[in-house]
């Protein structure tokens, strides 16, 4: 049996299965979609995609498929080429598993929505675009997927488009992503002109690569993966329903930027400037997001900032020249972050739309499965030994500690790791433990299997995924083999310090000390003052400048300087110099006669 044929067939079958809910209703009036059919389609796709992954694990078969070519320019080939390598073969089942769980959860969460089928269709479109992005071997196909996920993100964030904040948030997402797209297009343009190809296989390895296209790629990742500078859209994207936040803005879409950097890694290998930029940008993002998460009171915003922080950590890993480790972190992060969002969605829906953790508390007895899985997810996020997050996060921190790099980036990342522990413990304590602060007479239950099975499935994933992926894959770069015990224990010690700090602060908050505003807490609460500064200040300045150019400058130049007024002023100057000559003195006239005779003599000479 030809393994590569089976591999190819099953991968294409996965994509074909996913497109059936879109095509079949167009072909016949009897075949209507329902949320259940779409969920079952994704489940079937997941099971189909397990086959190629198993083939890869046990035989190392990879494949490169090249379909129809767009004969646009004769000298430039743009085929539809799909690459089925480690990254796509592993990420397909993970993305489909997470999506299946989220869709099953959404059948309960969005049950009261009149347009639930449209919602599911949107999520399906998004999933297809994401999978196209993953499987692309060609920057062109990747760009199709890239734009597809951006558009679906816009449509899904503004799902409740009656709400002004949702529309603003969707616009924010689209605009920030568009700024990142400029970087991607810059890189594509350079590649097309310098190397005449967009295939990932044919990327030039450095040292030939100039830094400019790499900066473009980093800009694209900054926009899509919400690094510092283009990050405000991610917390604002929490305006969308919780299944949207779980699927797009935690597991799949936001990792597209990091995935792009992983795919184009050969370009980065020797360019130390680009790698250092990634490192510092990632370190700054992770610390900034962790700082902002410390004082948030909306449970979804806490998890959103946590996502932003982990994305910064992935960028740090790219900066360390370890793309496989970044991919491992993407995979494990997908499980526990989606589970955190689903648990929070269960709590929110049971509390009739209450998202503020100040009005939640003591729900452990009422929602045992949800809170247990919330705890598991939080422990995985903090990097508790032998849960999923440990395998990726601990390795990243070890590599960070044993590399020869910027100490500032190292310190920031360690600080961010401890902050992760702090806000996680704060969230857990305020949401689950302590006395009950929810309104009385809230009938909470998790009797619906549509709620508990996705969450428990993802919990199983959060516990075992790290172990399974690391057991079955061989790393291409050797991990650091020896290090002192203190370096080895750094991540654990820092996390433990964070936990201890959080417990102390919460004990202080329960005793009779009234909090006041301090500069540091104000910085954290107002998200670093970034939003008003950039959204108002720079925008008003550039718009005002544009307005001045459009109205004043053009009018001033064309109608005044180069038009009648300019002409008039020239004339006036000429006449003002010439009129004093008409003074009536004979000497002046004789002088002008002499001057003109002199000029005639000299010109005829």
């Amino acid at each position: 049996m030809d393994l590569s044929l089976v591999l190819n067939t099953f991968m294409l079958l996965t994509l074909a299965t996913l497109s059936t809910p879109i095509l079949f209703p167009l072909l016949s009036n009897n075949l209507k979609n329902t949320p259940e059919t779409i969920t079952n389609t994704v489940k079937a796709s997941f099971l189909i995609s397990l086959v190629p992954m198993t083939i890869y694990i046990y035989s190392g078969t990879e494949s490169l498929t090249s379909l129809w070519e767009w004969k646009f320019i004769m000298t430039f080939k743009i085929p539809i080429s799909l690459k089925m390598d480690f990254y796509s073969l592993t990420f397909f089942p993970i993305a489909l598993f997470v999506s299946w769980s989220i869709l099953q959860f959404a059948t309960w969460y969005m049950a009261a929505d009149p347009y639930i089928t449209k919602f599911f269709t949107y999520l399906l479109f998004f999933l297809i675009a994401m999978l196209i992005l993953i499987i692309a071997n060609n920057l062109f196909i990747l760009f199709i997927g890239w734009e597809g996920v951006g558009i679906m993100s816009f449509l899904l964030i503004s799902w409740w488009h009656g709400r002004a904040e949702a529309n603003t948030a969707a616009l924010q997402a689209v605009l920030y992503n568009r700024i990142g797209d400029v970087g991607l297009i810059l890189c594509m343009a350079w590649l097309a002109s310098a190397t005449n190809t967009w295939e990932i296989q044919q990327l030039p390895t450095s040292p030939q690569t100039p830094t400019l296209p790499l900066l473009g790629l980093i800009l694209a990742a900054t926009g899509k993966s919400a690094q510092f500078g283009l990050h405000p859209w991610l917390p604002a994207a929490m305006e969308g329903p919780t299944p949207v936040s779980a699927l797009l803005h935690s597991s799949t879409m936001v990792v597209a930027g990091i995935f792009l950097l992983i795919r184009t890694h050969p370009l980065f290998n020797n360019n130390q400037t680009a790698l250092t930029l990634c490192l510092c940008l990632g370190a700054l993002s992770t610390l900034f997001a962790a700082t902002c998460a410390l004082t948030q009171n909306d449970i979804k915003k806490i998890i959103a900032f946590s996502t932003s922080s982990q994305l910064g950590l992935m960028m740090v890993t790219i900066g360390l020249n370890l793309p496989e480790l970044a991919f491992l972190h993407i995979s494990t992060h997908a499980f526990f972050k989606a589970m955190l969002f689903l648990c929070s969605g269960s709590i929110i829906h049971n509390l009739n739309g209450e998202q503020d953790i100040r009005k939640m508390g003591g729900i452990q007895k009422m929602l045992p499965t949800t809170t247990a899985c919330l705890t598991i997810g939080n422990l995985a996020l903090m990097g508790t030994p032998f849960l999923a997050g440990f395998y990726s996060k601990d390795q990243i921190i070890e590599s960070l500690n044993t590399s020869y790099l910027n100490t500032w980036a190292l310190l920031l990342t360690l600080l961010a790791t401890s902050f992760t522990a702090v806000y996680t413990i704060r969230m857990t304590m305020l949401v689950q433990t302590g006395f009950v602060r929810i309104p009385p007479l809230t009938p909470m239950n998790e009797n619906n299997p549509a709620v508990t099975s996705p969450i428990t499935r993802l919990a199983l994933g959060s516990i075992t995924a790290g172990f399974l992926i690391t057991s079955f894959t061989i790393p291409t770069k050797t991990p650091p083999t020896t290090m002192p015990l203190s370096i080895k224990m750094t991540a654990l010690v820092v996390t433990a310090l964070g936990i201890f700090l959080a417990l102390e602060i919460s004990k202080m908050a329960q005793t009779l000390i009234l909090k006041k505003q301090t500069p540091l807490s104000n910085f954290s609460v107002s998200l670093g003052y970034f939003n008003p500064l950039t959204h108002r200040l720079s925008m008003t300045n550039s718009l005002k400048g544009g307005q001045n150019i459009a109205s004043h400058l053009i009018d001033l130049s064309w109608y005044k300087m180069l038009g009648p007024e300019g002409l008039a002023s020239l004339q006036l100057k000429a006449t003002k110099t010439a009129t004093p000559l008409h003074s009536g003195l004979i000497k002046a006239y004789l002088g002008s006669f002499a001057l003109s005779i002199l000029i005639i003599l000299m010109s005829s000479y």
Partner: protein, 214 residues
Amino acid sequence: MNLARLMAAPGALGGGSAGGQGRAPSRHSPRGGRPAEPGAMAAYLTHQQKVLRLYKKSLRHLESWCIHRDKYRYYACLLRDRFDKNKDVKDMVKATELLRAGEEEFWANQHPQPYIFADSPGGIAYERYEMYKLPEWCLDFWHPSEKAMYPDYFAKREQWKKLQRESWEREVKQLQEETPSDGPKTEALPPARKEGHLPPMWWHHVTRPREQPM
């Protein structure tokens, strides 16, 4: 829909909403008009209203700061005591100065992310279902096959619309007579004054969309 109940209860539609708004009966009637209905909002706030608003605001922000209920209750009692100490101040100048000092202290100590209820303006579910709130005249554009799904309603609908058309003139006339010349003083709608008349804007109230979709 009980038409008799609608026509009988005076101000049941409009008056009920305004009754809960004014905390105290307005002692100053609005300038240049007839005295407002008891419990209606006036053009200016009284001192009592301002103090009570400050108290409620500060309690809410205190609740945002003190997450745990026992701690909140302790500080809320202290705050209540601070307000109660100055309860009987008769000198209006001193009372206004105290109020101003209170407002400044509130501004300095407010919470940057106060707790806002989900359906209140500024909350996370505010206007969330606005997109599903369609006006009732869309029902006229339904396809007959869709209308056949709700035969009972559409059988009676034409009669209700006829009633609405007939009473519209009378409602407009009543509102025009009863509104003072420089504009209405409150948002409350008056009840039906005569026997056999319907309260003004009853159709808009009865056909208002649901708060949350089905």
